[in-house]
Amino acid sequence: MLSVVIFLPLAAAALLVLPRLGRRAVLGIWIGAAAVDLALVLVMWLGYGSGIAHETRLRWIPSIGAGYHVGVDGLSLPLIAMTAVLFLLCAVYSVRETRRPRAYAALFLFLQTVCTGLFAALDLLLFFVFFDLSIVGMYFLIVGWGHGEARRSALQFFLYTFLGSLVLLLGFIGLFLAGGTFDMVELIQNPPAASALVLLAIGLGLAIKTPTVPVHTWLPPAHTDAPAAGSAILAGVLLKMGTYGLVRIAMPMMPQAWRAYAWVIIIVGVVSVLYGALAALAQENIKRLIAYTSVNHMGYIVLALGAAGLSSGASRAKDLAVTGAVTQMVSHGLLTGALFLLTGVLWDRARSYDAGRFGGIAANAPVFTALATVAAFGSLGLPGLSGFIAEFQIFIGVIGTGAIVAGALSILGILITAALFLRLLHRAFLGEPGELTGRMLEARPSEIAAVAPLLLLSLAIGIAPRWLLDLIEPASALVVSWVSR
């Protein structure tokens, strides 16, 4: 069943390539495949008990211990569900795409298979295959449907993240040579005595994808020049590959090295939090601003995971930190996805992201403004939305493990984020109309239908988080116990 979830979108993409289809049929196949995929994920969620479920294990390259091994647990299932939701809503959002819709839909479906497969992979080589293919898919999306300096940004994105992926591959080879297999479950059960260099390679590869300061510089141009739905996937799903890799691979397979370098990871996290927030504060371009807040939000996750490796501190606090980190991955996917889709509306109408040229949009487009406001408040961590649940747990966890200064400094990050979002709302949505405000028509039904569910989900997590946390908490506790070995 899991394999069906993974490869259903790819099959739909193949269907799109073969016969000559009209635009409506293309959209029908795209939305239909994404909807069925989401339904299947929900069935998997409802039927989930504990441990690794829906496991499939096939031989691929037995002579080096690599195989097609997939399965879901409390870490991957929320991310797979978030991926399915986001891809479906991106399909809904894109109903008005007129430029080569067949290839566009096929690329999104391809990316959906790749992303779902990555979160489901239980084999390092399989993980890497999906990791690498996500770069290829996103490159073509930016190059083919981006705007501005799309080719340059796409090339930079490809080269930078490809370097990261190959460094990651070197790290995987190191794990393989130390452990004799690529199978994740076996490597977690018997963590190989890998050197600090292996952690450095894997950490660097994942950090570039995440991205954390100082290897984040590919992110703003790629985000700015990608099409709106592409940015939503890039920020919502692809960035999670990095942090998910930290929880899934780096922490359980190299517990000693992770504990030894926990402070380095914490510092990288804190710097990303503060630098991302300050850089976002300085942006005039709304899309760049949101891109930099991603650096900030991913910084919280890195900080929490680093804190879970501290030798001091109760395991309860570490559990909280890891649970918060995974929740933040889901929450950031929903909220940033919504924010990027909303900037797509701006570009669609006014062909500009310049905050200074808008103003008083609220008067023209109240629904659009309401959506943007909710997404912005969610992103800055307002109670009642998912960001708060995630960040609250992260802070309690981090401070509980004894990293009090780091925790305090990151709370400062929240303050800056609040300031920059309020400033953005103030400049673009309230006050006197700007030169481009006249072009800002109200959000269309398809756009509302794409953004509103994301915000409702965020609200659901914010008000009643138990249904999500019950899934994540046991898996987090397991990760913490592995890291403490």
């Binding site: 090339l155 190959l166 040579l177 297999t181």
Partner: protein, 459 residues
């Protein structure tokens, strides 16, 4: 090596190819010009039966034929890969050659060069190796200048001068080795010293020419650009298969001692220079020529750690096969479109989506993107290098791979750009390209099956 044997049937695949070449030549003499196509069929049949014979030989135990030719897994892989790739190249060439005044000679020369290549891989005596070198080279010189035009003549001359010079150097190395140890066999009698440093270097010179590695790489771009596209596909692909397997054999059995760092330096220089020179090539054939040089650098990785890591042999065997099929695929697209400049690929994606997709797969395959064969090959090569104590070499190879993405993308982007679509691509060559792309992916997906053939497991 197991038993020694003098059974000519151990060399059946080689004999079949030789038979095909001789029969093709004779038939070509008597058949009128417009019906020369029959020679292509004869040669194709010879290659297919050689592949079948090699496949059968794989199921048999290893033997040493005539004390000079090893029939084992590396040789059998070479037989299959060389015959398979030569078959594809005969297909590529046949479309352009129809009615050419020397049509049958072309096929015969290709077959003879392929035969020489297999001898390079199987040789376990330096004199046989030299014979293989000459047989693999001389027909290729003729093929490079086959068109008798200015470019082809220049290409052939450059190729020939370089090849003859380095061949003579290699022969000097063999002489030196014979003088030192009293034998030209790969496995000298006990008590006799292995090849001395100078002899190794001299022998290496010839091999480096054949694989197109630095510093013997100068002929590659000119020969690739100057000769016809099918010939270019041949000389950048097929000789490499045999020469690398031969080099692996030499490295494990003859070059005992201090050659590892030397080969490592050559590997670094080859991949780096190849990549740097490919950056701003606007001619796709020159781009592919420099790409083939850089690939030779990666292929040297397992050779560097030969005998030191259990992964070296499977990595090299898999890499030559995966590289060959991917490279032939890329050249097949050049043959199909007949276009040499990057800009003439504008709009190919709309005109012939399948062909553009095949090129995309082949180019991303050359980069090493999963799930193509070269990805698994690179993975094995990196792992072998690290395992053999050359982790720094793997790191340099990684940086080179990233750099190579840049120029492969320069060719990929025009495919999906709007533009004046190129002329209708040649159908047979298009099929070859699509088949190669498919094989490249299959090789990656089914890599487990192929690697299971190789005896060495995890380290």
């Amino acid at each position: 090596m197991s038993s020694m044997a003098e059974n000519p049937l151990d060399l059946l695949p080689e004999l079949l190819i030789l038979l095909g070449a001789v029969a093709g030549l004779l038939v070509g003499l008597f058949v009128p010009r417009r019906r020369q196509r029959v020679v292509a069929w004869i040669c194709g049949l010879a290659l297919v039966s050689a592949m079948a014979a090699a496949g059968y030989a794989m199921t048999r135990p290893d033997v040493m034929a005539f004390e000079a030719f090893a029939v084992d897994l590396p040789t059998n892989v070479t037989r299959l890969a060389v015959a398979g790739m030569t078959l594809l190249i005969v297909l590529l060439g046949s479309g352009r050659l129809r009615g050419h005044s020397r049509e049958s000679e072309w096929y015969v020369l290709v077959l003879l060069a392929a035969l020489g290549t297999i001898v390079l891989a199987g040789a376990s005596d330096l004199l046989v190796f030299v014979a293989g070198y000459l047989l693999a080279s001389i027909p290729a010189y003729a093929l490079a200048g086959f068109g008798k035009d200015a470019h082809g003549t220049e290409a052939a001359l450059k190729y020939y001068l370089m090849g003859t010079f380095l061949g003579v150097v290699m022969l000097a190395g063999v002489t030196l080795q014979y003088g030192l140890s009293g034998t030209t066999s790969y496995t000298p009698a006990p008590g006799v010293p292995a090849a001395a440093g100078v002899a190794v270097l001299l022998v290496l010179a010839g091999v480096l020419f054949k694989v197109g590695a630095v510093p013997a790489h100068f002929w590659v771009p000119d020969a690739t650009q100057g000769s016809s596209a099918p010939v270019a596909a041949f000389i950048t692909t097929v000789p490499k298969i045999g020469a690398f397997i031969g080099l692996l054999r030499l490295a494990t059995e003859v070059f005992a001692g201090t050659w590892r760092p030397v080969l490592a330096v050559i590997a670094v220089a080859t991949m780096t220079l190849g990549n740097l020179a490919a950056f701003y090539q606007d001619n796709v054939r020159r781009l592919l020529a420099y790409s083939t040089i850089s690939q030779a650098g990666y292929l040297l990785l397992p050779v560097v750690v030969a005998g030191q890591s259990g992964l070296a042999q499977p990595a090299l065997l898999f890499y030559v096969a995966a590289y060959a099929v991917t490279n032939v695929g890329a050249f097949a697209v050049v043959v199909a479109t007949g276009a040499d400049s990057l800009t003439s690929y504008d709009g190919l994606g709309r005109r012939s989506p399948l062909l553009a997709f095949a090129l995309l797969v082949c180019l991303l395959g050359l980069v090493g993107t999963p799930p193509t064969g070269v990805f698994v090959a690179k993975l094995l090569a990196f792992a072998a290098a690290w395992d053999g104590g050359y982790a720094w070499l793997a790191v340099i190879a990684v940086f080179n791979t990233v750099a190579s993405v840049f120029y492969y993308l320069r060719w990929i982007v025009p495919l999906f750009r709007p533009g004046e679509p190129p002329a209708e691509p040649h159908p047979a060559a298009s099929r070859v390209a699509e088949l190669s792309a498919l094989l490249s992916i299959l090789l990656g997906l089914a890599s487990g099956t192929f690697l299971a053939l190789s005896p060495s497991g995890p380290p």
